[in-house]
């Protein structure tokens, strides 16, 4: 085996010195890993199989830690969670056929949320490609609509360039997942490996990016003249690292900031200008502020249907400025007046000098802020967290206490459903990348594997999984991965015995016909125990704090099974097809009373 010793340098697993290696003949399998090392990859998530075996055979020679998953969907979600927590590219590996198709849900999840990810799959030998060979599937065809780009590689000499190009595509512009499918004979063949020579062509920005003087001037003018402006901040703020310029804009022009689900954390929850989450389960005052606004400044968000309600009635009084890196998003859902198409940080930095400070109360601005404050009214104090302990346990208690006890300093990884919305409402995020959740695709089963990825990326961080009893069971075998990797991950299952969000829709829109939503689950504490993971059930509010502390101080992973009110619903809610201001509000008689008089 003619591997240069530098490539094998396991002494310092963090070193990525492949750039300095002289061109050397390596097998295709070795080239895969050497290229990943060169790209700075230190951890990958995967599952071996026939068509990717040559690559696995070569793995031990390289300073890369491989996390063995229990299902390839988990590998994709882990790579995704890794990327969301760290901002680096996540890498997932799978074999051909079912290994590759199992990745698809995870790839689509990353695509919808614009997550930089590289998936490497093995495929059958190029000689039998297209013959329906054992475990052969056209994965580049299957993933075409859910990847930013993909490659089918059947020669060892093409592997390095394809993987390097994949990294460039995954991270540039609007990020996204890229799949590299490599045939078995390409892995078994050999080629001269020259990392530097495999560098892709210089990144070519989208030709329709456009931030020009007239647009900037017009945007500044609109901001200057606005009486009731609202900033809509989304995932793009975090992706672009635009937290500081966003904050400067908000503070300088005294503009309140509403956040999308994926934007939570991009603007501190405790900031006086933070309105909170907008959209289907956003607080009433947030959505009212948007509907009443005369100017919306959309920053790195795409007017998803979950934040607009019906588009025809959306913010009709407002002029709209859209700052966005993807030209295909302009005027897609909502027609805008000014489009500044470019990297958010760069655009905001060009825009900021044109915005004069409003600090001296020049704007009626303060009047607008007061109006919003007034519209919060009773809602602001109505909260369940202010209620005396009735002994009953509600999900909101759990979220509030988790936030309180962790000081908001944890990375929280949520699944999809009611608990996801309660988390967004009651856990206040001060920092970007502190909430990891599947927003676009809404993938149940995301939380547990994504949390593994987040913990591998940020081992020093406190990581919490919050999942429902339904979604948790979709990927619960990954508990074994936690055990095998000996990861300190805390798991909170919000267990209401239903597929809760679907039940809620049945309650509101299908006359309480609870068809196929009641759910029998295993004893999750025993399930954890079977994996060597400690845990306990929590049934009353009084137990929450102790249980959370117990989980945090436990040396290893810990599972808390919160048995919460079964038929609780997420309020407020905009029914699908309704306008943003047509919310279903918390019913007065609900145990979660709304007005302070009822307290």
């Amino acid at each position: 085996m003619s591997i240069p010793s530098k490539t094998i340098s396991t002494a310092n697993p963090k070193s990525s010195n492949a750039h300095h290696n002289p061109p050397t003949r390596l097998t295709g399998a070795e080239i895969i890993w050497a290229t990943l090392v060169g790209e700075g990859v230190t951890e990958v998530f995967g599952y071996p199989g026939g068509a990717i075996l040559p690559a696995y055979d070569a793995l031990r020679k390289f300073p890369i830690h491989h996390v063995l998953v229990r299902h390839e969907q988990g590998a994709a979600h882990m790579a995704d969670g890794y990327a969301r927590a760290s901002g680096k590219v996540g890498v997932a590996i799978a074999t051909s056929g079912p290994g590759a198709t199992n990745l698809v849900t995870g790839i689509a999840t990353a695509m919808l949320d614009s997550i930089p990810m590289v998936c490497i799959t093995g495929n059958v030998s190029s000689k039998i490609l297209g013959t329906d060979a054992f475990q052969e599937v056209d994965i580049t065809g299957i993933t075409l609509p859910v990847t930013k780009h993909n490659f089918l590689i059947n020669r060892a000499e093409d592997i390095a360039a394809a993987i390097r190009y994949a990294f460039q595509i995954a991270t540039s512009g609007r990020p996204g997942p890229v799949l590299v499918d490599i045939t078995k004979d390409a892995q078994q063949g050999s080629a001269i490996f020259d990392f530097a020579a495999a560098k892709p062509k210089a990144y070519r920005p989208h030709p329709m990016l456009r931030v020009e003087e007239p647009g900037l001037a017009e945007a500044a003018e609109l901001i200057r003249n606005a009486k009731r402006p609202v900033i809509l901040a989304g995932h793009g703020v975090i992706q672009s690292g635009a937290m500081e310029p966003l904050r400067s804009l908000a503070e300088r022009a005294e503009i309140p900031v509403a956040l999308t689900l994926l934007g939570l954390g991009c603007f501190p929850a405790s900031h006086p200008l933070n309105l909170g989450m907008m959209g289907m389960h956003g607080e009433a005052w947030v959505n009212h502020a948007i509907q009443e606004a005369d100017l919306l400044i959309a920053c790195g968000m795409r007017f998803d249907d979950r934040v607009t309600g019906t588009t025809s009635t959306y913010a009709t009084k407002a002029k709209k400025i859209h700052i966005e890196v993807d030209p295909a998003e302009i005027n897609k859902n909502i027609k805008v007046d000014v489009a500044l198409v470019g990297d958010l940080t760069e655009v905001l930095e060009q825009l900021l000098p044109r915005i004069s400070s409003r600090g001296q109360g020049g704007r009626e601005g303060s009047g607008w802020l007061k109006t919003i404050e007034t519209s919060k009214g009773a809602c602001a104090v109505r909260d369940i967290k202010n209620l005396p302990d009735s002994g009953h346990l509600y999900a909101a208690h759990v979220m509030h206490d988790l936030w309180r006890i962790t000081g908001g300093n944890a990375i929280v990884v949520t699944d999809v459903g009611q608990h996801q919305m309660w988390e967004a409402q009651y856990f206040h995020h001060e920092q970007p990348r502190s909430l990891i959740t599947s927003g676009g695709l809404g993938t149940m089963g995301f939380a547990l594997p994504a949390a593994i990825g987040a913990k591998v990326a940020c081992p020093e961080k406190e990581v919490w999984v919050i999942a429902g009893d339904g979604g948790f069971q979709m990927t619960s075998p990954e508990l074994s991965t936690i055990a095998q990797e000996n990861l300190k991950i805390n798991i909170a299952i919000i267990n209401n015995g239903y597929l809760g969000m679907v039940r809620q829709w049945q309650e509101f829109f299908y006359e309480k016909n609870y068809e196929s939503t009641p759910l029998v689950s295993p004893d999750f504490v025993k399930l954890a125990d079977a994996h060597g993971i400690a845990g306990r059930a929590v049934r009353t509010r009084a137990e929450v704090e102790g249980a959370v502390q117990e989980a945090r101080s436990a040396p290893g992973a810990y599972l808390l099974n919160f048995m919460v009110a079964q038929e609780d619903s997420v309020y407020p809610m905009i029914p699908a097809g309704s306008a943003l201001h047509e919310m279903i509000r918390r019913p007065g008689k609900n145990p979660l009373v709304e007005s302070p008089d009822e307290v």
Partner: protein, 194 residues
């Protein structure tokens, strides 16, 4: 409205699928698509015609640009441009019925490119309406059309136009602007036995 996009794409396997898949996903029917080599090595040029709302043009163009294999996209929209289509039409014709067809071909400035005892083949280049016209007249005459093969539309902007994108790529030094005249002169050679 009808949109006409002209794109330069990499000449590689699977590129057409990516382009076509974009329209499939948007549920837009491709009315016409022609692809062939371009003046640049390794790049194919395609002309794609589809029906979509007026506002959709920018978004389709932006989405096409997002495809890694697509290097340039031009939305011809209402700009001055030359559009042509090629048609091969095989007509049943004998010694006795040929001459009428020859006359038609002459009038339409088409040409005969194949001739047998029972049939002949007409090659015609022109705008869509002209080709439709010839087909209609053939149908209305006693001739029986055996086969029609149409290329779909090819479009090129008039004047000295080179895409800014391609210029920025360092390509595009083929600056001999092709004038309309040189494109539209159609010389109908009578018979071209092959």
């Amino acid at each position: 409205m009808l949109h006409t996009f002209v794109a330069y794409v990499e000449d590689k396997p699977g590129v057409l699928t990516r382009v076509a898949s974009l329209f499939r996903r948007l549920n837009i029917n491709i009315i016409s698509l022609t692809v062939g080599r371009s003046e640049r090595n390794g790049l194919s040029r395609l002309t794609l015609v589809c029906e979509a709302s007026a506002e959709a043009g920018d978004r389709i163009r932006a989405s096409l640009f997002k495809l890694e294999n697509v290097l340039d996209v031009d939305d011809i929209a209402g700009a001055p441009a030359v559009t042509r289509e090629l048609a091969l039409i095989k007509v049943a014709a004998t010694r006795h019925t040929r001459s009428a067809i020859f006359e038609l071909v002459e009038v339409f400035r088409a040409r005969i490119v194949d001739l047998t005892a029972e049939s002949l083949m007409i090659e015609m280049t022109g705008v869509e309406s002209k080709i439709e016209g010839l087909i209609q007249v053939l149908n209305e005459s006693d001739s029986r059309i055996l086969e029609i093969c149409r290329s779909g539309k090819m479009t090129m902007r008039r004047g000295h136009h080179t895409s800014g994108v391609l210029r920025a790529m360092g390509a595009g030094e083929n600056d001999d602007a092709v004038t309309d005249e040189s494109r539209t002169v159609e010389e109908a050679a009578a018979i071209e036995p092959e």
